[in-house]
Amino acid sequence: MNLPPFVLHQPLTIDEAVATFAQHPGEADWLAGGTDLLPNYKWRLNAKPHVISLHRVEGLRDLTPTHIGAMVTLRELEGSAELQARLPVIPATARQVASVLLRASGTLGGNLMLENRCFYFNQSEHWRRSWEPCMKAEGDRCHVVPQQELCYATFSSDMAGTLCALDATAQLLGPQAGREVPLQELYLFDGIRRHARTPGELLIGVRLPECAPTWRTGYRKLRLRGSWDFPELGVAISIQIVDGALSRLRIVLNALEQAPRSLDSVTKPYVGGPLSDQAIEELAAASFERARPYRNTSFPPHYRRKMVPVFVRDLLRHLRDS
C-alpha cells in the first residue's frame, strides 16, 4: 500500500510549527511517530495535503516526573529510571502499548491524540466501498448505532487512561495563545470531533502533579494477545490512603467509549471512608453500571463490560494491599 501524496513540512521550532499549521487551515495534520497517522493515510482515511512533522522541533522531549514532552517515545517512557522510581505506573502502561517496534517510533503526544477506532472505519478504501462508508469516513451514517447522529468510535490510547487517573494537565499551543487544560477535559464523547482542541493547537506535553508519586496508581488492560493489540478496556485507578481512609480515589474507564471516562460521581462518596472489601465490591458493581462499550472492536461489548468489575476489583485490591 502506498501513501497518498502530501507536502511534508519539517519545522525546527514550536512557534514555526504552529505558524506552519496556521497557513494550511483544515488541510494539515501533525506527524509524530506516524504509527497511527500513516496507516490511516494508507487507507485514505481523512488524509490531508500537508503533513507537519514534529521530528526536528526542539523543546518537545522533556522527561521528568512532573513534565513529559509530547515527542518522548514510549520506549523512552518505558526505560526511564526516574519514572520507574517515582511513577512506575507510567513505564508499566507504556510497556503495554502496541509492540516494541511501534513503541520505538510511537510518541506520548501521538498516543494521547490517537485517532479513534472502529471496525467499520479502520478499513481500506476497497472495503469501505464494498460495505458503505460511515460518517467518520466519507459516508453519512453509522453502522454501530445507526439511529444516532453521533460517532461511537472507540478511543484506544493506553497512556490516556493512566494519565487521566494521575490528574495530568495537557499543555497546548495555538497560533494565538497557549493554554493548559486537565487532560480529561480535552477529550470529547464524539468519535469524530474527539478533542476540545482546534486542530492547529499543538500538544506540547503533559504536566503531572508534584504529589502524584505519593499516590498508588495502577493500570489494567484487556486484549486478546500479549503484544500489539489495542486495548479493548483499560482501567486506570489512582488512590491514596491516609490513616486507613481514602483521601483520593480516581477510577478511569478507558477504551470502552469515545473518550476515557472518569467515574467521579461513583467514587466521590467513598472518599473519606475505608477501602473495605465491601466498598470494593460496590465500586466494582457501580463501574459495571457506568460501562457502555459499543460493538466496534474485537471482543463483544457484553464481554468487555463484564470485565470492568473484574478489573476494578482486582486493581483496587492490589493497590490497597500493596
Binding site: 500500500m1 501524496p5 471496525f119 486478546l224 463483544p300
Partner: protein, 808 residues
C-alpha cells in the same frame, strides 16, 4: 537400521543442521518475487469486486486507459478458458467474465509505470453491476435457489460436493453401545497467515516465450493453468519459483493474478510485477473451510470404541479449489489412529459468496480431529478410564488396513502416547491439578503424501523425478521440481544426496525453482515432498554412487560392491588401507564420458479399495502424533494460557531433527491460533478482519514452552525410513488444549476459537448449572469450584444429551 541398505553409519541423515537457505533468509539476501526488478518493468494492481454476487452489465475502461503512465487495462471477456487445481472442478477464469461471486473477486487489472498511475486508473474504471441474491450461510446453500453461484452447484442448489461413505454397521454399533458421546462443533474459517503476500512477475518475450516468477507451492500446476488459460503450449512457458515466504496450502492453487500479470505482459511486451497487499491475501484466502461438524462416537463399557458417525457441512466460499478433496478429508482422515470397526461419513461442501476456502496445513483433518479427540475424552471421562489409557486400548496396529482400506504401515502412536504420558507426569497430575489448571491429551494421524496425484496419470507418470549432474568441479547439482517454501525441502534433497554420496551438504547445490530445468514434481502439498522427492533423490544418487564405485574399482582392482562413499572418500570395506579420494574417483568416472548425470523417480504403489472415493486419503505412509498440553485458565476472565506442550510425533525417521522440531513448534503455534484466537469474522458476508492486527494470530507471548519427542518408526518405504512432519503435527494441539481446558475448569466449548468471552460464558453457565445440581462427578476442588463435566454451546442443541448411556 532401515531396510534401505545404508551400509555405513549415516553421516548426514539424522543430523541436526540448519536449512541450507537459512543464511539467505536471516540476512535478508534471499530473493523473493517482490525483490525481482527487471528493466522496463511495469507494476500492476487488480480492481476487485465490491459486490457479493452480481452480474456484470458493463465495464467502462475508457477513462482509465487515458491516465498518463497507464500501459494496459484488461478485463475478463477475452480469456474465458477455465482453470482450477482439480481437473473435474475447474471454475475460475483469469478475470471475471459474466459475474462476480464475492467481494474481492477479480474484475479488471491495470499495468502502468508506477502505483500512483495505476491506482488513479483503477479509480476511473466504471463497473455497472446487477446485484443478485447473495448466499453467505452454508445452510442456505443446501437449498434450491433461483440463481446459483456458478454452474458447478448440484441441480439447483449451491452444493458443490456430496460424499457418503458407510463401513460396517453404524446403526447396530449405536444400538449396542454402552455409551455414546456426541457433539455439534463449529469452526470459524481460518487462513494461513504466511509472511510473504502473493506476488508475481511475468515477462513475455519477443520470441513468444513467457516467463512467470511466482510465489507458489506448485510450479507445475501454475504451468498447466497458464497454458490452459492463455492458450499457449506448456513448453513455451517457464515458471520460476523464487524463495517463498511460507505457503501452508495458501499458495498451492494457480491464481487469477498470475494469469492477469501474464496477460498484461503479453499486451505490453514489458515485464509486469503484481504484489498483493495484506487485505488481498485475506480475500484470496483458500484457507480452512468454516465448518460445522456433527459427530457421534460409541463405545463399550470397557472403553472399546465401536463406531464413529460424522456429518460435516463445509463452507467452500466462492470457488472449488481443492474442495472435492476437502470434502472427503473432513471425514475419512478420522478413521485412525483408533481402530473403529463401524464408520459412516456424510460430507457436504457448498458454495457461498465469500472468499474461497481451500487447502490449509492439515487439510481437511484438523476440524474433525478436534471433534473426535473431544468425544474420546468425553467417553473416557464418563467411563472413569484415564484418557490416555483409553486411547492406548483402541490403537490401530502397524501394518494393517483401516476400515476404509487405508494401508497403514509403520505406526509409532503407542510410543508417542507413552512418551508424553511420562514426560508430562500425566498419571499423577491429570485430574488432580487445582481448579484453573489442567492437562489434556490429543492425538493425530495424517497422510504422508497423497497417493493419488492430481492432474496426473498414476499408472504411468512418476509423482516425483530428480536429476543429478556432477561435472569436473565435483559439485553436485540436484534438479527437482519440489518447491522449497520454507519447509526445508531443498535441505532434504541436499541431505539425501549427500548421505548417499558421502559428501558434505555444502557440495550439493539444489536447483528447485525452474520448470525449464527441473523435472516435474507435483509440488509442496499433502506432506508429500520428503517421502516422494526424497525417494526420487535417493534413487538418482544411488545411480551416481554406483558409477563412482565402479570407477573406484577400475582404479584399484577391487570389486565395486566393496566400496562405500564416506567423508569424500571411496573406502574399500575389505581393505581399510585402500582409499581413493572422491575427486579422483569422479575424474575417473567422467573420463571420456563427460559429466555424470542420473535420474531417479518415485511413484506410490497401488493400494486401497475400489469403492467411489476410495483413493481419497490414501497415502504410501501415515504419520502419527500425541501431544499433552498444560493450560492455566483464568476463571474470572476466561483467558486460557497454554504454557507447556509435550509433543511426540512419529515421522518415521527424522532426516534432520532440527527441521522436524521446527515443524512441530510451528504447528503448535498455528494450531493454538485456531483453537484459541483466530477466525475469519463476517458481518453480512463482509470480512470484518482482513488484517494481521484484527485477525488474531498468536504472538510470541502466547507461545508455550515446547518439548519435542521425535518417534522413529522407520517406515519401510520412506527415504531412510522417513515420513512426513509438515502437517500431522498440527492436529493434536487443538484437542489437547480443549481437553486441558476441561481438566482445568470442567467445561467443554465446541465452538472454535475458544475465545475468552466464549469460555467465560460456558464457565458461568456451568456455575449456574452447578448451583442446581445435587451431585458432582469429580467432586469439589480445593477452591470449592467443581470440575463437573459441562458442555457448552453446540452439544446442547442436539436431541438428547451430549453423553448417553444405555440401560441394560
Amino acid at each position: 537400521m532401515s531396510r534401505h541398505g545404508a551400509h555405513h553409519p549415516r553421516s548426514v541423515v539424522g543430523k541436526r543442521m540448519p536449512l541450507v537457505d537459512a543464511r539467505r533468509k536471516v540476512t535478508g539476501s534471499g530473493v523473493y518475487t517482490e525483490d525481482i526488478y527487471l528493466p522496463n518493468m511495469l507494476v500492476a494492481r487488480i480492481l476487485r469486486s465490491t459486490q457479493h454476487h452480481a452480474r456484470i452489465i458493463s465495464i467502462d475502461t475508457t477513462e482509465a486507459i487515458e491516465v498518463p503512465g497507464v500501459a494496459a487495462v484488461i478485463t475478463g471477456a477475452e480469456y474465458p478458458n477455465k482453470f482450477g487445481v482439480i481437473p473435474i472442478s475447474k471454475d475460475e477464469t483469469a478475470l471475471a467474465t459474466e459475474k462476480v461471486v464475492y467481494v474481492g473477486d477479480v474484475v479488471c487489472a491495470i499495468a502502468g509505470s508506477d502505483l500512483y498511475a495505476v491506482e488513479e486508473a483503477l479509480a476511473k474504471v466504471k463497473v455497472a453491476y446487477e446485484p443478485l441474491p447473495a448466499y453467505h450461510k452454508p445452510e442456505e446453500s443446501l437449498e434450491e435457489v433461483p440463481e446459483k453461484i456458478h454452474p458447478l452447484g448440484i441441480g439447483k442448489t449451491n452444493i458443490h460436493r456430496m460424499v457418503d461413505q458407510d463401513f460396517g454397521d453404524i446403526e447396530q454399533a449405536k444400538r449396542s453401545a454402552a455409551i455414546t458421546a456426541r457433539g455439534r462443533f463449529t469452526f470459524q474459517g481460518v487462513t494461513h497467515g504466511f509472511t510473504e503476500p502473493h506476488a508475481v512477475v511475468a515477462r513475455y518475450e519477443v520470441d513468444g516465450r513467457l516467463t512467470v516468477w511466482t510465489a507458489t507451492q506448485v510450479p507445475h500446476y501454475v504451468h498447466r493453468a497458464l497454458s490452459e488459460v492463455l492458450g499457449i503450449q506448456m513448453h513455451r512457458i517457464r515458471v520460476v519459483k523464487p524463495m517463498v515466504g511460507g505457503g501452508f496450502g495458501g499458495k498451492s492453487d494457480p491464481f487469477p493474478h498470475e494469469m492477469a500479470a501474464a496477460i498484461l505482459s503479453m499486451r505490453t511486451g514489458r515485464p509486469v510485477k503484481l504484489v498483493f497487499d495484506r487485505e488481498e491475501v485475506f480475500l484470496t484466502n483458500h484457507g480452512r473451510h468454516p465448518t460445522s461438524t456433527r459427530m457421534e462416537m460409541t463405545a463399550s463399557e470397557d472403553g472399546k470404541l465401536t463406531g464413529l458417525d460424522i456429518e460435516a457441512l463445509i463452507d467452500g466460499g466462492a470457488w472449488s479449489s481443492f474442495g472435492v478433496i476437502s470434502t472427503y478429508y473432513n471425514g475419512v482422515l478420522s478413521v485412525a489412529p483408533y481402530d473403529i470397526p463401524n464408520f459412516r461419513y456424510k460430507g457436504r461442501r457448498v458454495f457461498t459468496n465469500k472468499p474461497p476456502s481451500g487447502a490449509m496445513r492439515g487439510h481437511g483433518a484438523v476440524n474433525s480431529r478436534f471433534a473426535a479427540e473431544t468425544l474420546v475424552d468425553m467417553i473416557a471421562n464418563e467411563l472413569g478410564i484415564d484418557p490416555i489409557q483409553l486411547r492406548l486400548r483402541n490403537l490401530i496396529p502397524p501394518y494393517t488396513d483401516t476400515v476404509n482400506h487405508f494401508r497403514i504401515t509403520s505406526n509409532g502412536i503407542a510410543e508417542c502416547l507413552e512418551v508424553v504420558r511420562k514426560a508430562s507426569d500425566w498419571d499423577s497430575r491429570h485430574g488432580n491439578l487445582p481448579y484453573g489448571e489442567g492437562l489434556g491429551i490429543g492425538c493425530g494421524f495424517y497422510i504422508s503424501g497423497s497417493a493419488l496425484p492430481i492432474h496426473w496419470d498414476p499408472a504411468r507418470f512418476p509423482q516425483s523425478t530428480v536429476h543429478i549432474k556432477i561435472d569436473m568441479d565435483g559439485g553436485v547439482t540436484v534438479h527437482t521440481g519440489a518447491a522449497e517454501i520454507g519447509q526445508g525441502s531443498d535441505t532434504v534433497a541436499a541431505q539425501v544426496v549427500a548421505e548417499v554420496l558421502g559428501l558434505p551438504t555444502s557440495m550439493i547445490h539444489v536447483k528447485a525453482q525452474d520448470t525449464d530445468l527441473a523435472p516435474v514434481d507435483l509440488g509442496s502439498y499433502s506432506s508429500r515432498v520428503t517421502f516422494m522427492m526424497g525417494n526420487a533423490a535417493r534413487r538418482a544418487a544411488e545411480q551416481v554412487r554406483d558409477e563412482l564405485t565402479a570407477a573406484a574399482a577400475r582404479l584399484t582392482g577391487y570389486a565395486a560392491e566393496l566400496f562405500t562413499l564416506e567423508d569424500g572418500t571411496a573406502h574399500c570395506r575389505s581393505r581399510p588401507a585402500v582409499q581413493v579420494p572422491y575427486m579422483r574417483v569422479l575424474h575417473e568416472a567422467i573420463a571420456d564420458r563427460g559429466a555424470l548425470v542420473a535420474k531417479g523417480c518415485y511413484r506410490s504403489p497401488p493400494m486401497g479399495g475400489s469403492f467411489k472415493g476410495a483413493a481419497a486419503g490414501l497415502a504410501p505412509a501415515y504419520s502419527f502424533s500425541a501431544y499433552v498440553a498444560h493450560v492455566r485458565v483464568e476463571p474470572q476472565s476466561g483467558f486460557v494460557h497454554c504454557d507447556k506442550v509435550w509433543a511426540a510425533h512419529d515421522c518415521g525417521k527424522a532426516l534432520n531433527p532440527l527441521a522436524v522440531e521446527g515443524q512441530i513448534e510451528g504447528s503448535i503455534h498455528m494450531g493454538l491460533g485456531q483453537v484459541l484466537s483466530e477466525g475469519m469474522r463476517y458481518h453480512k458476508g463482509q470480512l470484518l478482519n482482513p488484517s494481521l492486527l484484527d485477525y488474531k494470530i498468536p504472538t510470541p507471548f502466547e507461545m508455550p514452552d515446547v518439548e519435542v519427542f521425535i518417534v522413529e518408526s522407520d517406515d519401510p518405504e520412506g527415504p531412510f525410513g522417513a515420513k512426513e512432519a509438515g502437517e500431522g503435527p498440527l492436529l493434536p494441539i487443538l484437542p489437547a488444549v480443549g481437553n486441558a481446558i476441561f481438566d482445568a475448569v470442567g467445561v467443554r466449548v465446541f465452538d472454535l476459537p475458544i475465545t475468552p468471552d466464549r469460555l467465560l460464558k460456558a464457565i458461568e453457565e456451568q456455575g449456574a448449572a452447578d448451583a442446581t445440581a445435587t451431585s458432582s462427578k469429580q467432586g469439589s476442588t480445593a477452591t470449592g469450584r467443581t470440575k463437573r463435566g459441562y458442555v457448552a454451546g453446540g452439544a446442547t442443541d442436539e436431541p438428547g444429551p451430549a453423553l448417553s448411556r444405555n440401560q441394560r
